[in-house]
Amino acid sequence: MLEQIINWFPEWARPFIMPMLTIAIVLQVNLGVCSYLILLERKLSAWMQDRIGPNRVGPWGLLQPVADMLKLLLKEDVIPGHVNKFLYVLAPGISVFTTMLAFAVVPFGPVPRNLSATDGQFPYIIAPGVDLGLVFIFAVTSLAVYGIILGGWASNNKYSALGAMRASAQVVSYEIPLGMSVVGLALLTGSMSIEKILLHQADAGILGWNIWFQPLACVIFFAAAMAEAQRLPFDLSECEQELVGGWHTEYSAMKWGLFFLGEYTHVITISFLTSILFFGGWHFPWIAEPDSQYLGSTLVKVLVLLTKSFAFIIVIQMLRWTIPRFRFDQLMGLAWKVLIPLATLNVVCVMIVKQFHLNEWWLLPMSAALFLGAGLIGTQSSRPFARRTSEPVAEAHGHHAHAH
């Protein structure tokens, strides 16, 4: 049916129809889901704190997102006199643009094999067949730091400036473990394409999901990605109690809303990526195998992927009310002293397994050993490589006071 519709269009326009259709779907669904994720987050936090949560607008507060959207649109959009106007207006745009652009290479359903854009199959991904999908995502999402730092600097406010400095240091630090955690996947799969990594797992069955071979990489990826998205417990840059919102202190109305649209889009992308890279994507034994052809199997595959991603969204939102916020020195320490060495050692493990043709199941105890070893070193000696002679013991007290 889709092919007939495509054939109505002139020859030159045909390659653009499927991409435009997927773009329209992704954009619309994303906007709707983001606004309802905010309601879900408020309901979840209310549930975890034994409150009721939003319940006035519509049944169970279901119309709250609509009311919020209207309020954000109709509020006064204050542009304070002391800001750099151009960059101040540009920053929320960059934030939304980069986080949404990352979704271009994330599949949201069973991408047909050997797909070309003209043959009328629905692709379930905006840009099928991009070989460097993961690199594209890391490149684009790390550009989001420009939205943060420009917004913080242009606001010309001390809270904003502090928040922006923290955020940029945090995002660049967590970029490295994030990128390093997928090197192991590339070694195992031989590809940086998200679709190929997914298909590799789907063909291997549930015991071929990457979580069995790279559980440590999965943890590192998830933590680093949450830090990139500035979600609690990594939201040092916007901590409401100390910095009144950090880099978006001076933003109001829909410009503020755009920043949050960006953040929630980022959360969705992380959840999709985690479920695709480590948990087999749309694959689930018996009901969604690569060769299952029963009626509605495609729909089931899409639903499986959406369910997995939704589970990770819930995990992210529940973590927010479970783990308290880190101190800034702990945050940087976690990135540089824990995640980066662990991710590098994980890559070395995969190297050794591949080079000496060991069974890939050796990676599971190796990951566990690395994780437990890091935990032991971290708890038994607080400063493993530090030079003990150069520093008087009394300075340990100043440590906390100066850390900001």
């Binding site: 939304v96 991009v130 001076e250």
Partner: protein, 131 residues
């Protein structure tokens, strides 16, 4: 390159989306300037001094280290994709040939050892000690 034109299309749509949004925000909604609204928000205190002050040199150190490690990461990506590529389904894609894999393995170990030395040096210099 042929497969990435939908990304360019998405870029165009997103730029349109963002600009339309910013214009709508600008038009819709009231606008009443008052002296207090124009001030920087500092929890009700009158701001003292400028917000554009010099900041801690630590941030520069982190940025420089980030450059070192990120470039290193970029070296790892092509190696990781091609090192153990022996998928018979992708015969046209050539990875590292089997007889060279030992050499590449040793080279990568040396590369990572160099990196580890630099990392321990930075740690002992106190770059990661944030205060």
């Amino acid at each position: 390159m042929e497969s990435s034109y939908p990304i360019l299309l998405f870029v165009a749509v997103l730029v349109g989306f963002v600009i339309t949004n910013l214009i709508i925000i600008h038009i819709v909604g009231p606008r009443k300037k008052t002296a207090v609204k124009q001030m920087p928000y500092e929890s009700g205190m009158d701001p003292v001094g400028d917000a554009r002050q010099p900041f801690d040199v630590k941030f520069y150190l982190v940025a420089i280290l980030f450059l070192v490690f990120d470039v290193e990461l970029l070296f790892l990506y092509p190696w990781a994709v091609s090192a153990y590529l022996d998928d018979p389904l992708r015969a046209n894609q050539t990875g590292v040939p089997v007889e060279l894999r030992g050499t590449v393995f040793a080279v990568m170990l040396v590369f990572m050892a160099t990196l580890a030395i630099a990392y321990i040096y930075a740690w002992r210099k106190g770059v990661f000690r944030w205060r």
